[in-house]
Symmetry: C2
């Protein structure tokens, strides 16, 4: 068996704190025996929950902190008040110091991004990290990025996202040559943004190990158009949220239609297993865990409202990223890409 992986958990993050984080850690540990945990947060709150999971106790160490970052704190305020001794900061710092391999938090997204950048720093030549989400598709899953870390992106940033997303696809889906597409709009008259067009050209010309598939429209994301779908953070966040809202809307309409008569209620009862199946498939909890890409360390952001199953899924994403040596692979790929860009002098002309 490989050496154990150490996963740092911000045990105070999210809407529920240790009540959800500790059982989630136990759930994921049952699937992967090679995990050790560092649980950052208030020992008085963590320990009582941890004691209910005796097997986990042997593999988890509580790293006591007095402070926790409030879910509604502004990032600047969180940095001012929580730096150096909050559960979130100390968990991130354990990755920097090499005490842990990955950090998972359900805390305040803005604070987590600000602290991660300040503590771990971005990789060479990366201006800002991106947030990548795992998106359920008809026949599997795909990765969509950026879903909200950046508003707007240059052609070079979009290309960086493509290679970072591809490295993540390799680690998560175990494929050598991920299919990559750029999100665009298809109205004939509109030729798309200049940045998107330039990135399109660079990706098509790249000899790095991706299967570049060209442009894709929003309606193809969930229909297995590619393993990695690249866009800037404004439209990516809107796409992600719109898909979540639409799935919830569909489920709501379905429940209401099924409860409208005795006959439909009987039918719903008989077909219950089908509804449970689809609920699992379309549940954002199942694919929980946004990955911050472009930092010198792996940071996973869980939904704040995730339950134990949902947070366990975020931990598992972190586990896969660490086992897949995500950071090292991204560094190599980006270096190669930037060298090839410089070599062809595209940097002087491109946006």
């Amino acid at each position: 068996m490989a050496a154990p992986l150490t996963i740092a958990l911000d045990a105070m993050g999210g809407d529920f704190g240790p009540e959800v984080i500790v059982p989630a850690a136990d759930l994921c540990f049952r699937r992967h025996a090679d995990i050790a945990y560092l649980l950052f947060g208030d020992e008085r709150k963590i320990l009582p929950v941890l004691e209910q999971h005796p097997e986990l106790m042997e593999r988890a160490r509580i790293m006591h902190t007095e402070k926790a970052v409030a879910m509604d704190a502004a990032p600047s305020q969180a940095l001012r008040e929580g730096r150096r001794d909050s559960s979130m900061w100390n968990a991130i710092e354990s990755v920097k110091s090499g005490k842990s391999d990955v950090v998972v938090s359900a805390g305040n997204t803005g604070a987590l991004m600000a602290m991660s950048k300040l503590c771990l720093k971005t990789m060479p030549d990366i201006e800002r990290p991106a947030i990548a989400a795992v998106w359920p598709t008809v026949n599997g899953r795909c990765i969509v990025l950026d879903v909200g870390a950046n508003v707007g992106a240059s052609a070079r940033q979009l290309s960086d996202f493509a290679f970072m997303g591809a490295a993540m696809a390799r680690a998560l889906f175990h494929i050598d040559r991920p299919a990559v597409s750029l999100l665009n709009i298809g109205v004939e008259e509109i030729k798309g943004l200049r940045e998107v067009k330039n990135a399109h050209r660079w990706l098509a010309d790249s000899d790095l190990s991706i299967d570049y598939r060209g442009f894709v429209e929003g309606d193809r994301i969930g229909h297995d158009a590619a393993d990695v779908i690249v866009t800037e953070g404004f439209s990516g966040n809107i796409a992600l949220k719109t898909a979540e809202g639409t799935a919830r809307q569909f489920a709501k309409e379905l429940r209401s239609a099924l409860s409208s008569s005795l006959l439909t209620r009987m039918g719903a009862l008989l077909a219950r297993s089908a509804f449970e199946k689809i609920k699992t498939k379309m549940d954002p909890n199942e694919q929980n865990g946004g990955v911050f890409l472009g930092l010198n360390g792996i940071v996973i952001k869980s939904h704040g409202g995730a339950d134990a199953k949902g947070f366990a899924s975020a931990i598992e994403t972190g586990y896969n990223m660490a086992r897949g040596r995500l950071v090292a692979h991204i560094k190599e790929d980006l270096e190669k890409f930037h060298v090839s860009l410089d070599a062809t002098d595209v940097l002087q002309n491109g946006s």
Copy 2:
């Protein structure tokens, strides 16, 4: 009864031409007896279908054209080849000359936009038209714009979209003071685009007749957050397409889950009425008809692949827009808004 409305139909547009357009015209005429049609296109193809609808024949006049704009023609090519004698151009021109009150086409979107702009011209102070879509929500419908006519939008354009969308909501939903929101992303750290923030300020300060509700995220669009949701065309198109794709994905998963066992198949049979209900509710055909706003005339774009019911829904949207005196109301509202902007000198400072 009010004077009849004359609706111009591009009978050659869309994937099916007169085979779908003519029966759709008949369907809508049965709901609104005060409609007269001008059917633009090849008489040899239109007449045989029209003859199957004797009542419609009395209210429809064929306006013969030899040319039709190809569905895959580039807008510039369509303008070069189809100007002045294609079914699309002549239908649009009938609005300009006052022969008809509104034009509906299922043809090439880029060509329709290019011809509409060239022929009808934009309203004073409007740089580019927007495309507004009707979006099904849990408890009704809302209007989303721009869904693809513009990539990017200034604060002033976003504000114009808000007032144009509100005028459309008045005509379509018969409400005096439509609720309006700006689409934005919610990650704390990101404060949104400067354009979006400025538009936010202007709309909040406006004394025009809208109920401005502030920012909304993508997941609230389908959940009755507002009557009008405003964004620029790139993210708007991606939101619209993503919602369509997600609804289709959900339906596909549902079908597959329901056919997985004898029990679920029996349940599906019993609950059939519920599935038909939800299919109708989430079907893009039901809310068919993108409206070009900001032109000196009303142009409705139907999905190219719409069936007769879908195209009839686009005609009905056009009917409501014309009956609601959309163009006149938009002109008035925009004039008031621009005057108030100029008065407060915001134009000098804003983006």
